[in-house]
């Protein structure tokens, strides 16, 4: 091959030299030493990776435009210290290897200041190992996963989460199931990875035993015939109550297939896949959801007496092309709301370090739509700690049981599940954090 005559040697040298020149001509970093990456005098650049297309994308692909809508609202009202917030969105299709590639692009090519709300347990773990934002000092604000492992500050020093951990959710759900369905056979469908394992740990901690546990491989919900095998297993075990602990598309597939197979247990939906709009959009008739139980830590999306819901609905109309206001939009806007507060709390000399310090020091006092306090501190990077339970109505809207939000909180360890006495402080004027 590389038969070395002079001509070829010349060609090889020329190729090497040209590629070298081309590569080195691309500017490494044209930043002054004091300016933080991704922050200019006019802009703060954030980036998100999540499934915008593919099997797991339904519902979650509405989150970025919701976050953008809130940022646009803030930008229209002076931005953060005069700087506008921009959000770069990358599609990872819920595939860890793609999440790694896309996060690389965000950090190395787009040069974002921080990662915002990257979604998925497996994806975030792969990114933490390969890209290692922690070692790079890149803040990962509010991962969209409740995997309890991300609370380990040593392993993930720059990662924060808003969602309560899946262990917390499972513990609270176990208490609810024990109180209401202690005499029933309970089945569980869960995603067979760290997301599902975290939930299993919570149920085990709470001492809840299932009559049948059906794991599903992430992505298999999109394979024809697979959801039917779940329902067959659940129904064969005689499950009267079925807990669905999966992503929206898997939850929708389970409900639709069960309806087709005339299997109608009492459904209990985990918060990850419990968004009614997404489930309905997947072809599940609203009636199938009727009387199912769901959980949330934010107000109900239809609760227009709530000042946050009212504000977010207005922003949704004016800045989000009037998208259907569902839980994904609500989560997106609330995440953006907390993000703006964190950016403001970091002060005028915004750096990655000052942002992390600000959340650790002041995060517990941040306002948000959440119905439990945020638990941020120098030792904890986890936000909310509890859930309320509700029932899906005939149109598929989740309403709190008994008409009021009864919050239960606990921790990811052996702590007891307790009723919360927290009352949320008033929203900052116009929904613009100071």
């Amino acid at each position: 091959m590389f038969g070395l005559n002079r001509g070829r040697l010349l060609v090889a040298t020329a190729v090497l030299a040209t590629s070298g020149l081309t590569l080195s001509a691309m500017p490494a970093q044209a930043l002054s030493p004091h300016q933080e990456v991704g922050v200019s005098s006019t802009e703060i650049k954030l980036g998100v990776t999540l499934p915008m297309t593919g099997t797991a994308s339904p519902g979650y692909n509405k989150v970025p435009s919701a976050m953008k809508a809130y940022f646009d609202y803030v930008n229209a009202n002076g931005g953060v210290g005069g700087k506008k917030i921009t959000l770069v969105v990358k599609d990872d299709q819920y595939v860890p290897t793609l999440a790694v590639a896309k996060t690389n692009e965000l950090i190395l090519k787009d040069k974002v200041f921080a990662l915002l709300a990257p979604l998925g347990t497996a994806n975030n773990k792969a990114v933490a190992a390969a890209v290692n934002p922690g070692r790079r000092g890149v803040p990962v604000l509010f991962v969209n996963t409740g995997y309890s492992g991300f609370a380990n500050k040593k392993l993930f020093p720059t990662t924060f989460s808003l969602l309560p951990s899946y262990i917390v959710e499972a513990k609270i759900m176990a208490q609810y199931l024990k109180e209401n369905f202690s005499d029933k056979k309970i089945g569980l469908l869960y995603q067979d990875d760290d997301f599902g394992d975290d939930a299993l740990a919570g149920f085990k901690q709470a001492g809840l035993n299932f009559a049948v546990k059906v794991p599903y491989a992430s992505g298999s919900q999109g394979v024809a015939g697979v959801p039917a095998t779940w329902i067959t297993k659940l129904s064969a075990a005689g499950a009267e109550v079925v807990v669905l602990f999966g992503v929206s598309s898997a939850t929708g597939a389970a409900l639709a297939t069960a309806a087709g197979m005339k299997f109608a247990p009492k459904w209990v939906l985990g918060s990850v896949g419990g968004d009614a709009t997404t489930i309905k959009a997947l072809g599940v008739p609203a009636g199938v959801l009727y009387n199912a139980t769901g959980a949330s830590f934010l107000p109900a999306t239809t609760d227009t007496t709530d000042e946050y819901i009212k504000l977010f609905q207005d922003i949704n109309t004016n800045y989000n092309k009037g998208a259907v206001f569902d839980n994904n939009v609500l989560v997106g806007m609330n995440t953006a709301f907390v993000t703006v507060q964190a950016l403001k709390a970091a002060g005028p000399n915004l750096t990655r370090k000052s942002l992390i310090t600000a959340i650790e020091k002041k995060g517990a006092t941040f306002a948000s739509a959440g119905l439990t306090p945020l638990m941020f501190s120098a030792t904890s990077h986890v936000g909310y700690a509890g859930y309320w339970f509700g029932t899906y109505g005939p149109t598929g809207d989740l309403k709190p049981n008994g008409g009021t939000y009864t919050m239960y909180t606990t921790d990811s360890a052996a702590g007891a599940v307790v009723k919360s006495t927290y009352s949320r402080p008033a929203m900052p004027a116009k929904g613009l954090p100071n």
Binding site: L4, T97, V100, A129
Partner: protein, 334 residues
């Protein structure tokens, strides 16, 4: 043109010079390019394994992604469970994939043309989903394969990706140098003889089956090394890291490289690395729609494959050689 005699020594020298050039280049460019460089090195190894198989021994594999997967998983498992040093993990990746290749190659030697293509394709479709059957393989989420931070003596500014690049580039240089020597040896000549005319080769005393199996084994071993390097650059192995599209991309890369010669391998690898970049630039112009961004890279690669097959069926390098030979011919016969 005066010819520098191509000896083992000059070839080794060439690779050392190339290594030094890459080392200097790695220090000049930013981290994104360094990361792409590591990916490039991975593609160079993977594509050369296909060139060896198809170009030199005349067998087709539509499922080399499966061999990468075996290598990747072998490396990750030996690193996670046995805690072995990285270079031993890579060696295990090579051996595991070569062993699998030997088994498959024995079957492959009896098949040809579309039957062989179909068999290997089935392997690429089926093999990754085995991960969902055995918990030790980590299911859909896969296993972490963290080769660790670069040694401290390289300095605080030495980035993780530069470390990956060093390892990947070294692996590629050693693999290609070794492969080139193999191809110039008795084995290489045997493979070419079999590819050229099986009957003639057999009459010359070559055992066709053994020769094909050996080619499949060596090619799989190289693919296993590429799998290990791929797993390192993304720090994880999972079924989704070895999709069917990977096998097709590699084959496309080999066709672009000119499947009958190793010297084009860098062209194939460069194209595969550059395609997502180009697709990204185009989709930005087209308003960043998700559908465009997701599907454009595949479209570009496929279009390129069709164009190359139509216009330069033997690859650009071979075409260039022919072109030069023809013009030389014209000059001398004027």
């Amino acid at each position: 043109m005066p010819r520098i005699k191509s000896t083992n020594f000059t070839r080794l020298l060439f690779f050392i010079v190339l290594g030094v050039a890459l080392f200097l280049l790695g220090n000049r460019v930013d981290e994104l390019r360094v990361y792409q460089g590591a990916t490039l090195a991975m593609y160079v190894i993977a594509i050369s394994s296909i060139i060896l198989l198809t170009g030199y021994s005349g067998q087709v594999s539509l499922g080399h992604g499966a061999m990468l997967a075996i290598g990747g998983y072998a490396a990750a498992l030996s690193h996670e469970h046995l805690g072995l040093p990285i270079w031993i993990c890579f060696s295990i990746a090579v051996l595991a994939a070569a062993a699998a290749g030997a088994v498959l190659g024995t079957a492959a030697a009896r098949l040809s043309g579309p039957y062989l293509a179909g068999t290997t394709l089935a392997l690429a479709v089926g093999l990754p989903s085995i991960a969902n059957q055995f918990p030790i393989l980590g299911g859909e989420q896969g296993l972490l394969f963290d080769v660790g931070a670069p040694p401290a003596r390289l300095g605080a500014d030495f980035t993780q990706y530069k470390w990956y690049f060093w390892i990947a580039a070294l692996a590629a240089l050693i693999a290609i140098w070794w492969l080139q020597n193999i191809l110039r040896s008795r084995y290489g000549r045997t493979w070419r003889a079999v590819r050229g005319n099986e009957v003639a080769a057999e009459l010359a005393g070559i055992h066709i089956g053994k020769s094909k199996t050996l080619a499949f084994t060596v090619s799989s071993g190289l693919a296993g090394l590429a799998g290990g390097v791929l797993a390192m650059t993304i720090s994880t192995v999972s079924p989704s890291a070895f999709p069917l599209s990977l096998s097709f991309s590699l084959l496309t890369g080999a066709v672009l490289a000119g499947v009958s010669t190793l010297s084009g391998v860098i062209i194939g690898a460069l194209t595969l690395v550059a395609t997502p970049e180009i697709a990204d630039a185009i989709s930005r112009r087209l308003g960043n729609s998700e559908n465009v961004t997701t599907n454009l890279p595949g479209l570009l690669v496929s279009a390129l494959l069709i164009l190359v097959v139509l216009l330069v069926p033997n690859g650009p390098v071979e075409q260039w050689r022919k072109f030069r030979a023809r013009s030389l011919h014209e000059v001398t016969h004027r």
